[in-house]
Structures are given as C-alpha cells and as structure tokens.
C-alpha cells in the first residue's frame, strides 16, 4: 500500500502533497478546538498502537500474510480528523524508520490512506452506524468502512499513477482492474481484522467506542453530507469502468490536438483498443473487464457483509424485555 518513489511524477507528488498538507492543517485546527491537552497523548498512542499492530501477521496459508492497515480503526477511536493525523504519523515513522514509502511520495501516501482512507472510511462508518443501532452498527460499519477505505485508497493510487504518465503509457481501466482484484482481497482481510479487534473491544470495554457512539452523532445535515460522500465514492469506484466515455474522450482530444498519429506510433495498439490479452477474451469487447471490476466490488462487499453478520452473532446480545420475562 505504501507507494515508493519512482511511480509518481513530481507534479502529482506536489499536487497530492498540497491537498494532504491542507487537510492536515484543518485536522489540527479541529483537534485544537476539541480537547487540546488530551489530544496529543491519545493521538500519539493510537498511532504507535497501529504501527505495532501492523507487526502482527495474519497468515492466509500462503507465503504472504496480511496485516492491519488501521485507517478505519484510528478514525473510529479518534474521530475522522484524529484518525487522519494518526495515519499521517504512522506513515511518517514508517518512512523515516524503515524507508517504507517514498520521501517524495509521502504526500500521496497521506492523501490515499490518511485523507481518503480515514475521512472516507469514517463517512462510511457513520452512514452504517446511523442506520443500525448499538454495537452491531459499530461492528458492521467498521468492517464495511475498512473494506471501502482500502478500495478507495487503491482507486486513488490508480488515478495518481495514471496522471503521472501523461503520454498515456498506461490504461487507467486495466490498472484499476489489476489493483481492484488484489485490493478487494486485501480489503476483506482488513475488514475481518478490524471487525475482530472491534468485537473484542465491544465485549470487554464497550465504552471505548461507545464514547464515540453518543458524542459525535452528526446533525441531520451532516449525516446527509456524509451519505452523499459515501455514495459518490462507491459510484466513482465501481461505476467508473462502465463510463467508457472518458477513455474515448482522451482519444478524441488526442486526435483533435494532432498528436494521435504520434501517439499510436510510439505506444502501439494501446489507444486503439483496450481488450485484455487473456486467452478466451474477445478483443472486440471490452465489456469483460468492466464486468470483472464490478464483480470484484460486489463480491467483496457481499463477503464483508457476510463476515460482519457472522461476527455480529458472537457479540453478547442485550436482553430484550420479552426474554427478560422468560428468564425471570
């Protein structure tokens, strides 16, 4: 997930870095406005907790193993702005201690995982939680947000990578397909790990996340805005492959600007068609790729929902009045 240097062009690094720095500045002001004396130790602790949590490996039966990314968990514990700052801290330490993630790409990394991952993840969490009451809402919301934040970060990376190679060396749709297929797996892992940690906390110390349940219930307008953001994210991620106008629009611009011949000369068949060179694919129909991407999205969401439902069953159920009578 950490973008090394060498992938993104300096212009993209500067652009994403500016957005990330602006968001962090806003986040610091928001945090100062809440509870300044408590914020610093708490944010620092959650950041180092997530850093340490990433050292615990979750094996999947293959040579590679998964680990927590933690953007959503930080946002659930600290609120969206605190989560964003905590992720920026984790990414900085990983860069300055391990050289994980590039120096110039730091802004892009903060943007993808901190800004989009944490703020977007929190939006998704809020949207679910305002509809499902109690600990189940927290659990399901956290898991869906974990999955969504991974996918959103992957989508942002694709866009940045594509923008970094303005001559059109890469096909946005194909990179997204590649990334979406891997990251829907990573996202399910993230959702499962987040959900399992949350269920442990909900059983033993529910007030740690319960404080969030009561204190930061957004007003109606706020809720409306958050839901809108979530809807936009989902549409952007999974409907984008179907909106084929964009790629064709680029070709049209290239032709109009008169460098189409040059482009086709240097990049070969890329601009002519974008069928996947896989056995059994019809080169005439790019639909296969679009369906595959959307399938990855749908499948991932379904799996996360099923896992979340399963985890919800392990939560201790609050006694309803009727059961109370039976028990008595």
């Amino acid at each position: 997930m950490h973008i090394p240097d060498g992938f993104l062009s300096p212009a993209v690094c500067v652009g994403t870095g500016t957005i990330a720095a602006g968001t962090l500045a806003v986040a610091f002001r928001k945090l100062d406005a809440t509870l300044a004396s408590r914020t610093v130790p708490l944010t620092g602790m959650v950041a180092s907790l997530i850093f340490a949590g990433q050292m615990v490996n979750f094996p999947i039966g293959l040579p590679v193993s998964g680990h927590l990314i933690g953007g959503t968990l930080a946002a659930i514990l600290l609120g969206p702005w605190g989560g964003c700052v905590a992720l920026a801290l984790v990414l900085f330490v990983q860069m300055a201690l391990f050289s994980d993630g590039g120096w110039l790409a730091y802004g892009a990394n903060v943007f993808n995982m901190g800004v989009v991952g944490s703020l977007g993840g929190y939006a998704l969490y809020q949207a679910v939680r305002s509809r499902i009451a109690g600990p189940r809402g927290v659990l399901l919301g956290g898991m869906l947000a974990g999955w969504g934040s991974v996918m959103a970060a992957a989508a942002c990376f694709c866009l940045e990578f594509w923008l970094s190679h303005p001559a059109g060396e890469f096909d946005l749709r194909k990179i997204w397909m590649l990334m979406a297929s891997f990251h829907s797996l990573i996202g399910v892992g993230e959702a499962l790990i987040t959900g399992m940690i949350l269920s442990v906390v909900l059983v033993h110390r529910p007030e740690l996340v319960a404080a969030q349940i009561t204190s930061t219930n957004p007003a109606r307008i706020g809720r409306f805005v958050w839901t809108g953001v979530v809807a936009a994210l989902i549409v952007a991620a999974f409907a984008a492959p179907f909106a084929s106008e964009y790629g064709d629009g680029l070709e049209a611009v290239a032709e109009e600007a008169g460098f189409a011949s040059h482009a086709t000369e240097s990049t070969g068949p890329l601009l002519n068609d974008y069928a996947l060179p896989l056995p059994g694919t019809d080169r005439e129909s790019p639909l296969w790729g679009k369906v595959a991407t959307a399938m990855a999205g749908l499948l991932g969401t379904t799996v996360v929902l099923l896992l979340g439902w399963g985890l919800c069953q392990t939560l201790p159920r609050p006694l309803t009045p009727r059961e109370d009578v039976h028990a008595g």
Binding site: P4, D5, G6, F7, S9, P10, F28, S37, V40, P41, L42, T43, G44, M45, V46, S48, L49, F51, A52, G53, M55, V56, N57, F58, P59, G61, L68, L73, L89, V90, F92, V93, M95, A96, L97, F98, S99, G102, W103, L104, E169, F170, D171, K174, I175, L178, I193, M196, I197, L198, S199, V200, V201, H204, L208, T267, G268, P269, L270, P277
Partner: protein, 214 residues
C-alpha cells in the same frame, strides 16, 4: 527497550553517520527528484546512480544481506505494477518503461534506506523541524516515537504469555482469533495507558503545548 530492530544500523559511526542530517536529507531528496526526471531508458545515468548509492551503502557499513532482504520485500508489488505497462499494450513493447520504473523505485528506495540507516530517528526529526516541518507535527511524532517502544514491549510481553499458554501450533483459524484478541487487548491496554499518562502529564502542568525549549 528491546525493540532495537527499529533502528539497528542507524547508530553506527562511519563518515556518513557523522554527516550533517540536513545535508543527507537534501541529498536524498535531490537524488529522488533526479531519478524521477531521468528519461525512460537512460541506462548509463541509472547505472552511475546505482553504483553511487551502492558505494554509499557499503561505506555506511549496512550489510548487503539486509539491503537485499528489504529489496526482496519491495520487489513483488513494484514488478506487478511495472509489468502492467507491457500488459496494457498486449506484450508488444512497454518493456523499457517497465524496466525504467523498476529501476527508479529500486534506486530511490536504496537512497532512502541509506538515509534512514545512517540517521537516528530523533536526529532526522530535528533536521526536518529545522527545514520547516510544523511544530505540532513534530511534537506528535516525538510522542509517537516514544510510545512505540512502550507498545512494542507490551506486545512482546503479551506474545510471550500467549506462547507459554499455547502448547501446539495453532491452526489458521485459531491463529486469526488469537491474534485479533491479542490486538484488541493491546488496544484496550494502550488506551488505558494513554489515559494514565495524560493524567500524570496534567498533574505536572501539561496544558496541551510542549514548553518552548531554548
């Protein structure tokens, strides 16, 4: 503090370890930008830079085995993405671009590895603060760095306990459950500890701001 694996080689005593951290930081940023601006397929330039970076790593006495280990971890995702160039055009060309992207990432990664393994974290942080990193951010980073060792020690203790209670190698499913409950407990303990630390800090006059240090 047993977590010395965090910066094992950064506390050596070679020419590069003694160099001014600001110089090192700017040098690495210069190399990164230079590598990014080097055009596709300029192999002599990449070759020269690679030799330079490797020489710097050797002079700084960073073991080659460690470098190769780190590069081995980085390589799969880099190769995967770089190869999407030839895949994008049906394996007819694009190889040069893929090789260039791989070269660029490996070069800049090695340069970063050299920087972080010749400069302890707090020195690097000080250098970045002098170069204009915001004060609030530096404060938080200092807190986080200090807490990291505390949390790692806590995690190590909990893992020792976990191992001493587990007699056989657990299955995949059981391992997920035990790891998740480990992390959940670590979370609860860390938040409790943060509360205690905050109370202790308040009783010593903490107001939310680091006191100015002359």
């Amino acid at each position: 503090m047993r977590a010395d694996f965090l910066d094992r080689y950064a506390r050596g005593n070679t020419v590069f370890h003694r160099l001014n951290p600001r110089t090192k930081l700017l040098l690495v940023l210069l190399i990164v930008i230079g590598v990014l601006l080097t055009p596709v397929g300029a192999w002599p330039v990449f070759g020269c830079l690679a030799c330079g970076v490797y020489a710097a790593l050797v002079i700084a006495e960073i073991p080659t085995k460690y470098i190769l280990q780190r590069i081995g971890l980085l390589l799969p995702p880099v190769l995967g993405l770089a190869l999407s160039a030839p895949i994008s055009r049906g394996f007819q060309g694009g190889w040069e671009l893929a090789a260039t992207i791989t070269c660029r990432s490996l070069l800049t990664f090695s340069a970063g590895l050299w920087l972080v393994n010749t400069t302890p974290f707090e020195t690097l942080l000080g250098a970045m603060a002098r170069l204009g990193l915001p004060n609030r951010f530096v404060e938080l980073l200092a807190f986080m760095y200090r807490y990291t060792f505390v949390v790692f020690d806590e995690l190590a203790r909990m893992r020792t306990g976990q191992r001493s209670r587990t007699f056989s190698k657990p299955g995949l499913f059981a391992l997920w459950i035990s790891n998740a409950s480990l992390l959940g407990m670590l979370l609860i303990r860390s938040l409790n500890r943060a509360e205690r630390i905050h109370g202790a800090m308040c009783s010593r006059g903490w107001t939310g701001r680091m006191p100015e240090q002359s």
